[in-house]
Subunit: 316 residues, 2 copies
Amino acid sequence: MRALYFDGDVARVTSIAEPESFPDSALVRVSLAGVCDTDLQLVKGYMDFRGVLGHEFVGTVCEGPGELLTRRVVGEINFSCRSCALCKTGLERHCPNRRVMGILDADGAFAEYVRVPIANLHPVPDSVPDEAAVFAEPLAAAFEILEQVDVGTGSDSLVLGDGKLGLLIAQVLRGAGARVRVVGKHPEKLAIARRLGIETVLRDDYRAEPMSLVVDATGRSDGFECAAAAVKPRGTIVLKTTVAVRAEIDLAPLVINEVQVVGSRCGPFPPALRALEDGSVDVASLIHERVRLTDALEALRIAETPGALKVLIEAG
Amino acid sequence: MRALYFDGDVARVTSIAEPESFPDSALVRVSLAGVCDTDLQLVKGYMDFRGVLGHEFVGTVCEGPGELLTRRVVGEINFSCRSCALCKTGLERHCPNRRVMGILDADGAFAEYVRVPIANLHPVPDSVPDEAAVFAEPLAAAFEILEQVDVGTGSDSLVLGDGKLGLLIAQVLRGAGARVRVVGKHPEKLAIARRLGIETVLRDDYRAEPMSLVVDATGRSDGFECAAAAVKPRGTIVLKTTVAVRAEIDLAPLVINEVQVVGSRCGPFPPALRALEDGSVDVASLIHERVRLTDALEALRIAETPGALKVLIEAG
């Protein structure tokens, strides 16, 4: 099959064997896959990954249990052992033995086919088109914040970063009843947020006005310090940025202001699929371009362009 | 009156005017005061403080409202405005207009007399001797953790640091039902914890065994990274260390493991006084030496000695 394969040095579209079967897995024919900033980091050496890239996808089960066969599905990316202490306490996403699709020891979805544990698959409601379903994974990551933090109705929140994830998070927080403001540096991305009824501020015009909840979705190494400067005493910072570099940080203000910092990664798919079904989160406006799998390298290049939003790879 | 005054350059015991009155304050004749590591930082330039040092004290009200006159009292250190938005939501300890006794714009308790807002004073139960009451402030800071984190019965916790605060925190966590282990580098301090029935590990022998709750009370700039290495996925780090230097930190593990970091500073006095009254927290074993106010400089010197515990200054 055709796939975008990263050999640890170079990423190229090439022909490789179809994914090998493993216990309790299904084979999914990929329809659409999304490029995430993590993919861009991986080809720079993050996680020391080798294999097929891609962890955001929608596809059709072509080999697997009867109830899933021919169903359109999306899939959670953490392949956990389901037997360790963490798995047994419901923290499968933190399984120390996990493989992670397209990120850690498991091939990903920038390919014609991908193998996924059956337990990780979620059928897509008929009314949700592929172009929306492919956002299930990053949208679930946005919903993770609601699992971790009590986002009260009317609470004041700030999202730092107007990228794909920032714009999803802003919508999720608003849906939870928070007053939301997005700070970003791209007028055209902030315009998308405004069209969705979300208040925005251009970064250069932003003057810190401390908020109860600040989400760092900048993807930048200075995102944390920007968040620390923007949060109220006893407020909460949610960290969504994973940057491979170390940052020099002054922790004293966290202690003095008794700030809470919450690291946040993957999230629950069911609320994400419900939001795509009921239209409470808009993803159509986040699609930047669609590229065929043959041109997947070009997809990465476009995704890296300043100002780019979600680039989709058509595998089907 | 006699006081330990820091002029921004040199700390010396000297004779200064008695504290000036301010609205809704009481004059307290200090009996005993405790040296905190923050005092040692202040004379090195932290907070750019000038004035009388000291923020842990017990004394007797000699000028103030009738119901407090002649009463033994301890006092909260944050002098808040009681009118701003934070004060009105019960976050007086985070008042942006606050002065802080012996730390920020307010004279402290290494003196014969100290002035304190009446609202900050707490009468000391008769059964609690001065030698115990003087620990109310740092013990309240230990109890602050219970206000911020749900320390469940049987939860596994690790206290990094066997100093004064670490040994108080370990006792408070154990009192809340947690299983507690203290990691430290001073065999004689760890022996105190063991005599109180708390499990200990010498730092050199410590092998990370991830815990749900890790408290950094090391007072060292690498305390945070040690805590990050010792916490379980989805676990909590409580930061008690305020260090004036910036640390180079890798935030990615916080995000990947969805760790929660909680900055923690001053705490509630009532539970601290109750614990001193019912004896559930032992402080007698934390007293290192008593020094007269005349020799307060020597008290700072002793407090800085490696291995020193609480040095008390006799002002009365």
